[in-house]
Symmetry: C2
Subunit: 233 residues, 2 copies
DNA sequence: GAGTGGTCTAGACCACTTT
DNA sequence: AAGTGGTCTAGACCACTCC
């Protein structure tokens, strides 16, 4: 075996979460119990748990236990919505409008998304902040992964909370590619600004616990009173 | 003592790097030697070293040793320049023009920068990629921290390499706030595009090993053939 | 072969949370 | 008081690098 022991412990726990043996918000067995069950030392179980915490898959709290990360509107925002206001505080936008349709996947969507879906849901939303439109989002997800999604509209503000609670799909990480653009007439009118207003356009790819690409999202942000925050390390 | 032992080991090592007892590129004492010297167990020294590696301050290589991170043009680019081309590959821009001046610090610069400098160096550069202008950067650093900087012009492509080698100032982390804008006539002509072209404007704050804010930078990126990549975790 | 970091163990004690 | 994770120790053996 070239694979370290703690890695197999890690993988075992990931599998159990993916299989809903351990559900979000619940407590994992203690380090001692996990170690005994998997026939490793407590230190080895601990190392696996620490890596799981660093990946954001579990959360550890001294005196309480280790818990499967529960996506809440708050932490979902914190991890996956990077706009800050002029004071550097996180922006909490409101949902204004939403449309959900099901349609055939475009060729590139089929090629990229998990399991090469023939059909996808397309969720289009406009969010506001301080009473003014702030961003336009077009989210595309594989239809087979989220049966009945359309019937749930209006969807909650934080999609990833729904994905986790209703579909056991836990979003762990995402990448965005940003470009600058000027708004065309259509988008400008939806965001209630003049055509030609500059905006940041973000192309997102989001991955779940099994490292499957389960979402493509195009967000268009106005940056007059907010900015997109990036931490470089 | 509320501070854990490994943290004081960590701080001791950071201090030694800041004081140039350990210089970039050189090997630290082994875990065993550090532990003996500081009267802790090997495991505790190890924990400090692992944290230093996660912060990017040292690099560990099995069989070889632990080394103080050396900023090279390559890794400096990798960590602090997030533009990707259409294939998702890192963009390596060339330097086109550069001006360095020394001037009085503006009020907000004096308030933000380390040690509230009265004078600052302002470095203005245009970078190209594939033969075309790609970005305009205005970098402001405290003059007292970088004596004689102006006389070194033309500065190397990667400023942080110079900061480290010539001034023992090791940049560890940075934050950027991004906005979208349309270029005014001046910037547009410098980047050889039409006025009104959309661009991403990034306001950077860079911090060194001692967590001092030592640089303010405003970068203006064209995003026609590149995009600004962000990893969300 | 000698020296380095990487993995793994077994045990101790501390700090925090809940009952 | 009991149970959790957090720190710390002391030791073993493995994998990799260099001479």
């Amino acid at each position: 075996m070239t694979e370290p022991l703690y890695r197999s412990v890690y993988n075992t726990i990931v599998k159990r979460i993916a299989d809903a043996d351990y559900v979000p918000g619940s407590m994992l067995p203690s380090e001692f119990d996990l170690a005994a069950e998997l026939s490793v030392s407590q230190g080895t179980a601990r190392k696996a748990l620490i890596e799981l915490e660093q990946k954001g898959i579990v959360q550890r709290r001294q005196g309480k236990g280790t818990f499967v990360t529960l996506r809440t509107p708050e932490n979902s925002l914190f991890h996956f919505f990077s706009l800050r206001d002029k004071n550097g505080d996180q922006v909490a936008p409101q949902l204004q409008t939403e449309t959900v349709i099901i349609r055939a996947a475009r060729k590139y969507e089929r090629a990229l998304l998990h399991d090469q879906p023939d059909k996808v849901f397309e969720i289009t939303r406009v969010r506001t902040f301080d009473g003014k439109p702030l961003c336009h989002e077009k989210t595309v997800v594989p239809a087979p992964l989220f049966p009945g999604l359309k019937d749930r509209s209006p969807l909650p503000n934080a999609l990833y909370v729904l994905f986790q609670q209703a579909y056991s799909c836990i979003i762990i990480s995402a990448e965005e590619n940003l470009k600058a653009a000027t708004l065309d007439a259509t988008l400008a009118s939806q965001l209630d600004v003049a055509p030609g207003t500059p905006a940041i356009v973000a192309q997102r790819r989001a991955f779940d616990l099994k490292e499957r690409l389960v979402e493509l999202r195009t967000s268009t942000f106005l940056t007059e009173s907010t900015s997109y925050f990036v931490d470089l390390n």
